[in-house]
Amino acid sequence: MIISVASGKGGTGKTTIATALALSVGYCQFFDFDVEAPNASFFLKPDIKHIQKVKIKQPVFLTDTDKSFKECAQFCHYNAVAIAGSEVIFFSELCHGCGGCILVGPQGSVREEDVVVGEIRKGMVSPGIEFFMGDLKPGTMRTTEIQNALEKYIEKEKLVIIDCPPGTSCSMVTAVKNSNHCILVTEPTPFGLNDLILSIDLVKELSIPFGVIINRDGIGNSEVENYCSQNNIKLLAKFPYDMNIAKSYSKGEAVISGRPELKEKFLDLANKVIKDKEAE
């Protein structure tokens, strides 16, 4: 079963909750799909066994001939190739590595080289959490390639927990789309409600069953809770705001560490979600 933990708004507690779920359950696959700003490893502290570079192929223009690369510049959808006289100006950060230059450019004058856009790290967290994360190289924009590389390790027969990036655009969709259940984490504020509604629209469109967790309850108002009850949306749990937890979090301590009652709560939450799936 694949459980994703997502949120329209950033900073609501996705990673806190996803990692707490994994640690409470103890045996699962855990994926940090927020490859632009991955943080789960601070709380899970995995023993990293393997690092895999993620590469794309980008063109190299052999300009020591009198061949024209105008075709490449015209073909490129991303404006990564431009011509100034006999000079080719190439913007690596804009290039998606589509291979178009090799196809349309002068035969034999365009070759390709591997360019690293990030990496995947795999490891273990005791007792039995298989940990996977992606890490995008700052300055590149190839979030997709990192997430695609990560996706290949999902074994859907296992219990899989996916920590998603914030928002509702394609990087979040990639993280959520394979899941059987999505836990939407929000905060009880107008920003939280606004973004919760956007993310609910999305998971409904993807036909993914979902439930809501209100985190840092008490800092705002009851609009989110009212919205959930008025719209028959399953409220899975509420976690009250707690300065001590905020301080633990700031140090990179897992919230269930030294809080057995919280660990129980997360175990119950996991069981509830798994049972709901089995009931379908």
Binding site: K9, G10, G11, T12, D34, E36, A37, N39, F42, I56, K57, F75, H77, Y78, E93, H96, G97, C98, G99, G100, L103, V104, L136, P138, G139, M141, T143, T144, P165, P166, G167, T168, S169, C170, S171, M172, V173, T174, K177, P188, T189, P190, F191, N194, D195, L198, S199, D201, L202, E205, L206, I219, G220, N221, M243, K247, Y249, S250, K251, G252
Partner: protein
Amino acid sequence: MKKIVIISGKGGTGKTTMAANFIKIAHGHVAVDCDVDAANLHILLDPSIKKKETFIGGAKAKVTGDCINCGKCEELCRFEAIKDSTTDIKIDKLKCESCEVCVYICPTKAIELTDEKQGEYYISDTKYCSFVHARLDPGAENSGLLVTKIRNISEDIAYQQDKKLIIIDGAPGIGCSVIASLNGVDYALIVTEPTISAISDFKKIYEVAGFFNIESLVCINKFDINLDNTAEIEKFCANRNIEVLGKIPYDEDVPRYLADKKFIIDSADSPAAKEIRNLWHKLEKSLYK
């Protein structure tokens, strides 16, 4: 004309709250919300929309002609967007990156790129300034292109109205939305907080800003929840000559004011409000020195 973008790396550090409060106290400015897939600034600014436009983000490949199942497109697609091309071809719109390699290679010209509506953008008036904002449809891509579009419009408006400043609320992360919101700005104000997660993301977004030759300024929000980490951020900044413009204390009034959709700087005695006001004055000085 000056442009300042407020970014964070990590979500939830207070970008939008800061941006909104700056927008309230600034003068002669235009505002733009570049967090297009989870826009929040409008909640505080209460805009009246004057103009609404459809955003056609990009075209996706679609089989519109006679596919002869030769399989060439699938072989060459670097984004794994094409499946079953030798039997019953399927193009995954989410994975398609619009490169047109398949369009080019198809022997029967059976594939075309077709425009996809991916969102909307708005030009609005608020009590404080003109405001450009957008909404990306759920699951849509090309958020970077939508950000670029609204950035352009905000500059058009600023030139038309002879405004000297654009305040840009950025998106979280370090990907294409944020990079598009960084384009050509004078300063990036990085709002961070003293947590291990935020520090890691702060370093990344600082690196990205540097990669695009943008000077960063820093604000440490809720600095007093972990003084050791605050000191670590300050040391990182000092070593690189990055100015820490302000340190905002944790203040329960901030979320309370937000819950009522009010601006914290309107509070006479909030310690956070005082620091935000100071920070804005310092920022203004940097912009116009």
